[in-house]
């Protein structure tokens, strides 16, 4: 351990806490920072920019300690086949609680993936913070919101929420960095929920609009479904392994010795099996409880021999596949959470609606970072996933990819196109991860973060200029907004995967998409009967991506203006907005490049964090599935055809878009009429909202309405009448009280008072009079006594 290795967690921890400090500052002093909280933006931006600087410093430190492996001449990252575990720093800053072997605390798990995520999140956030200063400036003064009409038809007038926006952004950055930094699943879950909260708050930023508040609720509720699965996964992990920590951790056992307890990764991939997937002992024991019971009964006298016998049997049980199911459940559960957060197939509905939030939020949270957190978590949990789980991941990703891309083809709202595009690209990542392409998926995460945030910011710039989201009302904006148009074109090329095949030069999306398609092809080769499906969908998806993204660009910027009024008022955005666009555009081009002439770049860096691939990647339940090694996809026999096919597909998509919308050779209306059924199907988003509404929402509403009716008619009635009867009794009591009890008490009091008044006269204060009374009393006593005395004497006589 060198001093530097201790410095990296500190740097990242500081980078993590800076946005929190900014959040707290803005919460308490935000409105007082300048006019209408104007300087709150500076505070938040400074915090996140410093965080980026710290993250970058940490990355440099890391590279000094762990130099990248030698690059191969092909420009692709060197493969690390040697069976060594990924380099990682793990530790704990503060233990919140220790429950037996389970430690819940604030810890960190840092590998090159963490560092790359830190740099990416903080960098994109910094750009978006700067952009937001320009985009949100309307919030500095009183806002008139025509989209939130009041009851009298007047538009709502409200105070601006400029500093509130940056407060939420800071909180989000803190949560997102915490999620990336987290050293155990519990902490991941906490920050997972925290980013969910931030997303909810920011989607509902214009909370007076019904659509915005509904979208916020929808996002939150849909995410709950996924999080429920994630909790199940966490419980499975905890039950099976007794710990939630990723890395190994030091602890003090009952005997007082300092021991190093294995974390999740070490238990699933122990060093003695050369880091191959193995069902942990705890899960095996859980699954083979009857056998253990029998052994314990047989060794009733001696627990030590029983323990030894159980340990001896473990290998046999494991080879029988006992406990494997629990591992699958754990993986599926964790993936369930990722499905919710990353808007994958059954739970993909919330993300397009989330576009109700301000556009910078869409760029930051719902395109670049938070929704990618699901992909990140799949990548983080990769060592735990069995081939069965990976197959599920691939299937879900595949369905999402196709579904979202097809909807994006027909959407007319510029942000919705981008939202569905995001969903689709996330599907790509999931597909790549599920097919064994860890690097492909994660690399796509990073490149996608760059170009998708760029695209969103460009769309924000357009919306800012036009005041509408609807593309049919735009058009011809190229001249009016050159910076926006050009940067957006760069983003479109990046997402479409433009590049020169065979030379391996292109935009960032070119590299990641090629890797994904190649992996799919490799999978097809390993699994002949059905594996081709994924490859075809990936290729078709590439074509659709190019098609919808250029359709969007053409509709927005090319052709004749369709709405003169909007076109007339459109203007280029201020510098504070265009500068981030240019920066992000540059990054969209170069993100996946290695440094010129060297092997240094994003891919080798991520390569360091790659979990060890499995040598025998067959599942127990599905022995037919084989996960191909990722490096197998890099051989020219597979890579070159994949590259060519993907390029061709994208080209076709581009040509189609150009033909329909660019040069107007064909009329889109014709196509729409020809495929009226499909068009309606796509415009209605595959009827998913209606399906859920019919299958889930409406039954739930009906049941809750029924329950509410029961409540109102039955229980309320009962309680009302109970209350009425109680009130009646109380009234009677009151009457009785006043009439009898009070009167009696008053009577006694009055009587006592009157007697006191009378007796008062006796109390003259005259001593002599008292003496007189004393004597009279004595005499009377004598007289009375003598009467009886005489009688008694007479009786005694």
């Amino acid at each position: 351990m060198t001093a530097n290795s201790n410095l990296i967690p500190s740097l990242l921890g500081l980078a993590w806490l800076l946005p929190l400090a900014s959040f707290v500052l803005i919460v308490f002093f935000g409105p007082r920072m300048g006019k209408a909280g104007k300087h709150a933006a500076l505070v938040a931006t400074a915090a996140i920019a410093t965080a980026f600087a710290l993250s970058f410093a940490a990355l440099v430190l890391w590279l000094l300690q762990n130099p990248l492996s030698a690059p191969n001449p092909g420009g692709h990252a060197a493969e690390r086949v040697a069976a060594e575990s990924a380099k990682a720093l793990s530790g704990e800053w503060y233990a919140l609680g220790v429950f037996g072997p389970l430690r819940i605390g604030i810890g960190y798990y840092i590998d090159s993936l963490t560092l790359a995520m830190f740099c990416m999140v903080t960098f994109v956030s910094s750009c978006i913070h700067v952009y937001s200063i320009g985009y949100m400036h309307e919030e500095l003064s009183e806002v008139v919101d025509p989209l939130a009409p009041l009851a009298n038809g007047q538009p709502l007038r409200r105070r601006g929420r400029f500093c509130r926006f940056f407060q939420y952004l800071s909180l989000f950055c803190f949560s997102m960095l915490g999620l990336v930094l987290a050293g155990n699943v519990a902490m991941v879950f906490v920050f997972w929920e925290l980013v969910g909260i931030c997303s909810y708050l920011l989607i509902g930023f214009y909370r007076e609009r019904t659509s915005a508040s509904n979208a916020g609720n929808k996002a939150f509720i849909v995410n709950r479904v996924g999080d429920f699965g994630m909790i199940i996964g966490m419980m499975a992990l905890w039950t099976g392994m007794g710990t939630l920590s990723f890395g190994d951790y030091r602890a003090v056992d009952t005997a007082g010795h300092r021991v190093t307890l294995p974390g999740i990764f070490s238990q699933v991939r122990p060093a003695e099996t050369k880091h191959q997937l193995q069902v942990p002992d705890g899960m095996v024991k859980l699954a083979s409880r009857p056998q253990i019971e029998r052994i314990v009964l047989a060794h009733r006298r001696d627990t030590r021999t029983a323990t030894a016998a159980i340990a001896g049997q473990l290998r046999g049980w494991r080879s029988q596949g006992l406990g494997y199911g629990l591992l699958v459940v754990a993986g599926l559960g964790i993936f369930c959470g990722c499905v919710g957060k990353s808007a994958q197939f059954p739970l993909h509905l919330w993300l397009p609606d989330a576009m109700e939030g301000p556009t910078p939020v869409s760029a930051l949270i719902h395109a670049a970072t938070m929704v990618a957190a699901g992909v990140y978590l799949v990548g983080r949990f990769y060592p735990v996933f069995t081939p069965e789980v990976l197959l599920v991941v691939a299937i879900v990703g595949c369905i999402t990819l196709f579904l979202a891309a097809s909807i994006a083809l027909t959407a007319t709202d510029i942000k919705r196109v981008l939202a569905y595009s995001t969903v689709s690209q996330l599907g790509y990542m999931m597909l790549a991860l599920g097919l064994g392409g860890w690097l492909a998926g994660i690399l796509h995460l990073f490149t996608h973060a760059c170009f998708k945030s760029l695209l969103f910011l460009c769309s924000g710039s357009v919306i800012h200029a036009c005041g509408t989201n609807e593309m049919p009302r735009m058009g011809g904006l190229l001249k009016k907004m050159p910076y926006t148009a050009i940067t957006m074109l760069v983003g479109c090329l990046a997402i479409a995967g433009a590049g020169v095949p065979l030379l391996a030069v292109g935009f960032s999306g070119f590299y990641s998409k090629d890797l994904i398609v190649a992996q799919a092809l490799s999978f097809r080769a390993s699994n002949p009967p059905f594996g081709g499906l994924f490859f075809y969908v990936a290729v078709i998806g590439a074509g659709m991506t190019a098609c919808y993204i250029f359709r969007m660009w053409y509709l927005t910027f090319a052709g004749e203006p369709r709405d003169e009024h909007i076109h007339h008022h459109a203007h280029e955005s201020p510098k504070v907005m265009t500068v981030p666009l240019v920066i992000l555009a540059t990054l969209s081009v170069v993100a996946a490049w290695n440094l010129f002439g060297t092997g240094y770049g994003l891919q080798p860096l991520l390569e360091q964090a790659r979990p060890v691939e499995q040598s025998i990647a067959h599942g127990v339940f599905l022995p037919g599935v084989t996960m191909p090694f990722e490096h197998e996809a890099h051989v020219p026999q597979i890579h070159t055809p994949a590259e060519l096919v993907a390029f061709l597909a994208a080209l076709i998509g581009f040509v189609l878009a150009t033909a329909f919308y660019g040069v107007r050779k064909w009329d889109p209306e014709d196509a729409r009429r020809t495929f009226a059924g499909i068009h309606r199907f796509l415009v209605h988003k595959w009827w998913f909202d209606e399906l859920y509404s019919f299958a889930l929402v409406r039954p739930v509403l009906r049941i809750s309405g029924w329950v509410a009716a029961c409540d109102q008619r039955g229980i309320d009635w009962l309680i009302d009448h109970l209350a009425i009867s109680v009130a009646a009794v109380a009234r009677f009591d009151d009457w009785f009280d006043r009439l009898f009890v009070d009167r009696l008490v008053n009577l006694v009091a009055q009587w006592t008072y009157a007697v006191g008044l009378r007796l008062r006269r006796l109390q003259t204060g005259n001593v002599r009079q008292y003496v007189m009374w004393l004597a009279v009393g004595t005499v009377m006593l004598f007289v009375v006594m003598s009467l009886y005395w005489n009688l008694a004497l007479a009786a005694g006589m």
Partner: protein, 115 residues
């Protein structure tokens, strides 16, 4: 008349004297406006009571039969004397205080405790 002088006196005579003293004390208390006069009345009353105790405790007056109070009577008389002395001291202190505060010794003026 001679009979009165030759007859031995009995308990009743002492009781009669004590009754006279007692009533005189009472009258003193009841009629004197001077607080010291009242005090003197109290002394007289106590003396009358004392005489009663002594008479009942005396062996002479009971003709040698010790059915009376005996020594108890004398002891109680002693205690009464002592308590009377104490009471006189206390009462005099109160009287002086009263005199200081009201500049008079008229008990009729001491009626702050009137109801």
């Amino acid at each position: 008349m001679m009979n009165l002088l030759t007859q031995p006196v009995g308990l009743s005579h002492y009781l009669a004297v004590s009754a006279v003293l007692f009533v005189c004390g009472f009258l003193c208390m009841a009629t004197k406006r001077n607080i010291l006069g009242v005090l003197m009345g109290i002394e007289l009353v106590l003396n009358g009571a004392n005489l009663n105790f002594v008479a009942f405790g005396s062996r002479l007056l009971r003709g040698g039969t010790s059915d009376g109070l005996g020594l108890d009577g004398q002891a109680i008389a002693l205690f009464v004397i002592i308590l009377a002395a104490a009471e006189a001291a206390g009462a005099l202190a109160i009287a002086l205080n009263f005199y200081h505060t009201h500049a008079t010794v008229d008990v009729d003026r001491a009626e702050e405790l009137k109801g």
